[in-house]
């Protein structure tokens, strides 16, 4: 007999819209940013209507990202505090990567990797926002010195690359761990998925009326 | 200029004092950089401010405005006391050895013959040489006689010790002596100094004497007539030399001839004092030809109407009672004594001192005609511009007629530069709108007046009706035709004086030289000094051959340098009495056995041998230059330091005679002078490199480069008054007050005068309430209505003010 668990609701519609706005902004920012970062990727400015438009749009998309991400942050930050089981999970990261999750502690809504992604992106987006303002010459050319602008340029690039790397981890994890993506498309996950990956959370959710 | 711009490259030492060549004459200043870079020349700048010229100087010294004579007399004292004069030159080529009349004296600030009541030297009979029975000047070649000029000069300048110079001028003694030493280095025959000055010397009540002081120094040093020497007036407009030549002064006629006075009712009276017989044996005394120039000029002015029988229409000339200079005009206007005024290329509301007085005068006129390419403050004097020109238009009834004129680039004609070089310029474009050339405007006016006089007659219509105007297009003469008229031509065949059967010049031919002018009516010529500019060979002012065969910057085939295409005046003095150059290094002209040879036209009879002992200063009756001016200057034969009319201190030399005793002060202005108790700061006014007078504030790019009025002040004064860079400051004088932005600078330091610091502020003259620059009250709101004792150049360069921090002007207009 095969028992089918009921799907468990993981993200509200608002949270999903919030996420996808963030996701699309981030992708557009990465594309436009990389276009201006490396000459061999300058062709990507074609996606945005040319160099001038790419230069003009990138910071505005950045503003969208910042606002949108702020929404995500407010929604999720309390769920991302570090717990004892996260440390244990991290110690067993190798097993996780090897798809050997037996014996790991039960986890809440997020595992340590997800929390690191969350906090990493939070810090990086804050830094990107600040350095981006410094670099946004159209409006803020006069508020900083050139040396500060240079520092901002390096910081912006470094943070952006770090953010892209984290984003890759984030996306890959969603692809690798089957059943994850539907949380952000349909808003729910299967009971089995929840049991397997976020059992403590699952127990709480099931207990709710 | 006695020399030329190009000649400055030959100099060993440049003294810029009474001017700011880098600022006001940047293109001419290139010759200073040339001399520095290629001739090892040193540059000294003496100025109240550390100027743009000072920025590239080897030595800079500060001086209190209006004390140049003290400084220069101190230099003379140094040269005489230390034997640093070119003794042989001074003896041979100046009146140093001449004996002066016994009664001549100088006491307590006054020369002999002063009349306290008339405020004038009424008896100048002692300002004269001792003469022998032949009417020749007595000389003492040993220079022993206490009445010889050099000894009198020594006595006169003895008071100007370095300490006294420091007390009066505030120039630190060490700096002053350093400069004296540098100047003295050019007393040797192989070194020369050039003096470059401009309105920093002329715009004082002692203006002409400032320049005379330098002339005397250059004579003592043997630097006149020498390459790289001379006293060089840097003229401030394109062609202001030309207008000066063509009778700038109300008491002159073209070519520095003199308008008759009302004491010279007859032609004989007039000519009697102009025969200029030599005062030393065998001298040229070139002004003996005065009558030839005068008659030729009368023929040019009145044509056939000037005949021997009517004394060449002498009666047609006005006879002046007093000088009608611009100050006098304004005074008469303000007193309601004038009905109409023509302002042709003159922005009198900004250009004449004491704006309030000028405005009062303009408001009392019935009409005023403004002929100008630009909108001027003068044409808008009746318009209310808030606090920049706060007048009530309803109260002003003057009818203003504006006639738009074309600019130099919109017409052809000649212009004469500081080097006395006449150069033709060609028309580039048509003038805008209804503008016409000044020549066309004046011709039209002349012809209409003439027609009116011809029709209606009048008290004395002849001078107008008989004025010669024989141009092909009388309503708009061709400028080339006018230049020909100025040059002159033979009216009849001119016989050769040596052989009357020969014709020297056929009737109708242009005069090749002023030596061809005749006093019998056979020649016509508007201005003798320009003769040779347009000959049968063509228009010499069009020549543009830059070649310089001698390498001395003579460029003989570039334009035409009056007189006679001569580039360095008094150039005979570049050779010693035997005709040999004083030094090979400074070789310019020399006697080759037959004639005077060199790259330039000799300022001398070209074939007069040295042994004839003819002096090189051929215009003077003596043949020599005058260290002692005789009665030629109204304020004394020697220069003397007098304080500016806004006197900062009592004259330390003679406190009872503080200011120039013969300055003309109008009754209306008697109370218009400031005193240091109310106005304890000395102000001076000047130009900026970015602007030309009141014109370029109408030009966008110039307005970008200097957009707004400012006042330069030292850090000490700014600190005391709590003023910072860019603050608004009110500057007030006895005449009025203006506002300006503060420019606090290290370049103006307080000048130690008589032991205590004197603060100086500087005010650029360019900004007004018309044009593209920010609006400003004109600087002449502050300046006193008084001029130089000799020629009445207004005293713009030294006056007293007070400054205080203030609020911005009410209606500061938004960005244009």
């Amino acid at each position: 007999m095969t028992v089918e668990a009921k799907p468990v609701s993981r993200y509200t519609t608002a949270a999903r819209i919030n996420h996808w706005i963030t996701a699309v902004s981030l992708i557009l920012l990465a594309l436009s940013g990389l276009a201006l970062f490396h000459p061999s990727l300058f062709f990507l400015t074609g996606l945005f209507g040319g160099g001038q438009l790419t230069r003009a749009l990138h910071p505005w998309i950045g503003v969208v990202l910042a606002v949108s991400f702020l929404g995500l942050f407010i929604r999720f930050f309390s769920l991302n505090f570090w717990k004892r089981e996260d440390t244990i999970w991290m110690k067993n990261l190798g097993k996780v990567i090897n798809n050997e999750e037996e014996g790991l502690p039960e986890l809440g809504k997020y595992n340590a990797g997800q929390k690191l992604v969350f906090w990493g992106q939070s810090i990086l987006i804050l830094l990107l926002f600040c350095s981006g303002i410094v670099l946004w010459d159209t409006y803020f050319a006069d508020i900083t010195t050139i040396d500060q602008k240079r520092l901002a340029a390096v910081a912006h690039a470094l943070c952006a690359i770090a953010a892209i790397l984290i984003w890759i981890v984030h996306v890959y994890a969603a692809i690798w761990v089957k059943g994850t993506l539907r949380a952000m498309t349909r808003g729910s996950v299967t009971g089995g998925w929840a049991w397997k990956h976020h059992r403590k959370w699952f127990r709480q959710e099931v207990g709710k009326p | 200029m006695t020399n030329s711009w190009n000649d400055i490259k030959n100099t060993d030492l440049v003294l810029i004092m009474g001017g700011n060549a880098a600022e006001a004459h940047p293109c001419g200043f290139k010759w200073v950089t040339e001399a520095k870079a290629n001739n090892g020349a040193k540059l000294i700048v003496v100025d109240p401010r550390f100027t743009r010229s000072a920025a590239v100087a080897d030595v800079y010294a500060p001086i209190r405005p209006g004390t140049d004579i003290a400084f220069l007399s101190g230099v003379m004292r140094y040269l005489l006391a230390n034997g640093k004069i070119h003794r042989e030159y001074a003896k041979a080529y100046t009146n140093a050895t001449y004996l002066v009349k016994e009664g001549f004296k100088f006491e307590d600030g006054l020369f002999a013959g002063y009349d306290e009541a008339r405020k004038n030297y009424v008896d100048r009979s002692t300002w004269e040489y001792q003469f022998d029975d032949q009417g020749m000047v007595k000389v003492d070649d040993t220079l022993q006689d206490r009445n010889c000029v050099l000894n009198l000069l020594k006595v006169h300048v003895e008071r100007y010790t370095p300490e006294m110079v420091e007390r009066i001028a505030g120039t630190p003694k060490a700096k002053f002596l350093q400069i004296c030493e540098m100047i003295a280095s050019t007393s040797t025959p192989d070194r020369t100094m050039t003096s470059m000055y401009a309105l920093g010397w002329t715009q004082h009540t002692t203006g002409a004497q400032n320049i005379r002081s330098m002339a005397m120094i250059q004579l003592l040093l043997g630097n006149m007539g020498m390459p790289g020497g001379g006293v060089n007036a840097l003229r401030g407009h394109s062609n202001v030399q030309g207008i000066t030549d063509l009778a700038l002064l109300s008491t002159s006629t073209p070519g520095y001839l003199v308008l008759p006075t009302d004491r010279e009712a007859t032609y004989d009276d007039y000519m009697k004092s102009r025969r200029f017989k030599p005062l030393r044996p065998g001298q040229t005394s070139f002004w003996q030809n005065y009558e030839k120039f005068f008659v030729s000029q009368q023929k040019s002015l009145f044509g056939k109407a000037a005949t021997k029988d009517n004394n060449w229409a002498y009666d047609y000339l006005p006879k002046f009672d007093v000088s009608y200079d611009v100050l006098k005009m304004v005074d008469m206007m303000a007193a309601g004594q004038m009905n109409g005024l023509f302002c042709q290329g003159l922005n009198i509301l900004m250009a004449s001192p004491n704006k309030a007085k000028v405005a009062t005068g303009l408001a009392k006129l019935k009409w005023m005609v403004v002929i100008d390419p630009l909108e001027t403050e003068t044409a808008r004097f009746w318009e209310n511009h808030g606090e920049y020109n706060n007048v009530d238009p309803k109260a002003i009834q003057t009818e203003v007629i504006q006639l738009p004129a074309s600019t130099y680039a919109e017409e052809e004609g000649s212009a004469t530069n500081s080097s006395r070089v006449i150069m033709w310029h060609w028309k580039a474009v048509d003038g805008p709108g209804e503008s016409k050339s000044d020549m066309e405007i004046m011709s039209a006016l002349h012809l209409r007046l003439k027609a009116l006089y011809a029709k209606d007659g009048g008290a004395f219509p002849e001078p107008i009706v008989d004025t010669a105007w024989d141009y092909k297009k009388p309503e708009n003469p061709d400028p080339a035709e006018v230049l020909k008229d100025i040059n002159g031509y033979a009216l009849e065949d001119i016989p050769d004086p040596a052989d009357p059967s020969k014709v020297l010049l056929a009737a109708g031919k242009l005069l090749p030289t002023f030596a061809m002018m005749r006093d019998d009516g056979k020649t016509s010529g508007g201005m003798w000094i320009y003769t040779g500019v347009y000959t049968e060979a063509g228009n010499m002012s069009m020549r543009r051959d830059a070649s310089d065969p001698t390498g001395l910057g003579i460029h003989p085939n570039w334009g035409f340098s009056w007189p006679a295409n001569r580039r360095v005046l008094y150039n005979r003095a570049s050779a010693d009495p035997d005709g040999k150059p004083w030094s090979q290094r400074k070789k310019y002209l020399e006697w080759n056995g037959q004639r005077w040879a060199g790259g330039d036209v000799p300022d001398y009879g070209p074939t007069i041998a040295p042994d004839k002992n003819v002096g090189p200063f051929i215009m003077n009756q003596e043949g020599t230059a005058r260290l002692f001016a005789r009665a030629a200057m109204p304020d004394g034969p020697f220069p003397e330091h007098y304080e500016p009319m806004d006197a900062y201190i009592a004259n330390p030399l003679h406190p009872k005679v503080t200011v120039n005793p013969v300055v003309r002060v109008f009754a209306a202005d008697a109370k218009s002078f400031g005193t240091p108790d109310k106005f304890p700061i000395v102000a001076t006014s000047y130009r900026l490199a970015e602007h030309f007078h009141y014109w370029t504030k109408n030009v966008h790019d110039n307005a970008v480069l200097q957009p707004e009025m400012f006042v330069e002040m030292g850090e000490r004064l700014a600190r005391a008054k709590g003023i910072k860079d860019g603050d608004w400051v009110e500057i007030s004088s006895q005449r009025g007050a203006i506002k300006a932005k503060a420019c606090v600078t290290k370049r103006i330091r307080p000048i130690m005068v008589d032991g205590s610091p004197c603060d100086v502020v500087g005010l650029p003259i360019h900004f007004g309430f018309i044009g593209l620059t920010r609006k400003s009250q004109p600087v002449n709101t502050l300046t006193p209505s008084v001029g130089d004792a000799s020629v009445n150049t207004p005293e713009y360069k030294a006056f007293l003010v007070d400054v205080k921090k203030t609020t911005p002007p009410a209606a500061q207009p938004a960005t244009v």
Partner: protein, 301 residues
């Protein structure tokens, strides 16, 4: 300015430039020599620059100095900077014509992300090609002399072109042409260096023992050079950098960071792919589903 693309290029921003065709004579390097000791600060060069380049710099206000406009702008490619320097009792008014130095190793070009927006001709002139400029202001960060200015109107970077349009037809830059005291010379870099040497001898004879040529090696030398009375202290001249070089931060940003970053991104991608291939997806097992259902049942009961 794109008309000058016909000139051979030595460098082109965000691009690789092939060397000039074989057999073509090497271009002579040009230089402008500004002799500060001859400069009177008359601003004729500024006026000439405005005129030749048809620039409409707005009329400003005075800030209580002779600096007008007070700074370089997109419509003022050169400005005179006046510095009052007091030493002891003596005063010097050091007047420097500021503008692009045309570095041999141009930081602006290095920083520029837009292909062909900044070029360096083989004669050494560094030029901004407006049609390729995207207005990112990276050149501002790249420049060690604080020269480029971004227009608020068309969002493109502007600076002195060394009158590349005049130089290409054999004319000197407009500023050099206008300078009344020949404080601005123009010619080959070799000639200018030789001329400067003569000027320095003259200045040393006038007591300026530290007179020298400003041709800073930190940027590979410049094609605008100064003769300075105090070559030991360039910063006296309104902050002329004593030892300019492209900022190490710009070096990092436009150097190592670029390849390393792309490599890191590629590595992350490849690692993911390999991981997926090697370890396969992480799937929920039927056992998990059963456990979940069991729990639900328990709680639901």
């Amino acid at each position: 300015m794109s008309v000058l693309q016909a000139l051979d290029l030595r460098r082109r921003s965000a691009s690789t430039v092939p060397p000039p065709p074989a057999g073509k004579a090497a271009a002579v390097e040009v230089a402008k020599l500004i002799d500060v000791s001859k400069c009177i600060g008359c601003k004729a060069c500024q006026a000439a620059c405005l005129e030749w380049n048809d620039l409409q710099q707005p009329i400003g206000v005075t800030d209580g100095t002779y600096n007008n406009p007070t700074d370089l702008t997109p419509t003022s490619f050169t400005v005179m900077r006046f510095a009052e320097h007091e030493h002891g009792d003596e005063l010097e008014w050091l007047i420097r014509k500021d503008g692009c130095m045309h570095c041999d190793d141009p930081g602006c070009l290095k920083a520029c992300p837009a292909p062909g927006a900044i070029v360096q001709y083989t004669n050494g002139i560094v030029d901004f090609i407006s049609e390729n400029c995207i207005g990112c202001a990276y050149c501002v960060k790249g420049c060690p002399f604080n020269i480029p200015r971004i227009s608020k109107v068309d969002h493109k970077a502007y600076k002195c072109t060394l009158c590349s349009d005049r130089v290409v037809v054999g004319q000197a830059p407009a500023c050099a042409k206008a300078c009344p005291t020949q404080a601005i010379y123009f010619g080959t870099k070799a000639d200018m260096t030789a001329h400067a040497a003569k000027r320095i001898i003259d200045l040393k004879s006038r007591g300026y023992g530290n007179a020298g040529l400003y041709d800073p090696p930190g940027v590979g030398g410049t094609h605008v050079m100064y003769v300075l009375h105090h070559a030991d202290k360039p910063s006296l001249y309104s902050g002329l950098p004593d030892n300019p070089r492209i900022s190490p931060m710009v070096g990092l940003w436009k150097g190592m960071l670029k390849p390393i970053s792309l490599a890191a991104i590629a590595f992350a991608g490849v690692f993911g792919l390999l991981h997926y291939v090697a370890k396969g997806p992480n799937r929920v097992t039927e056992h998990d589903e059963e456990q979940a259902a069991e729990l639900e049942e328990r709680k639901g009961a």
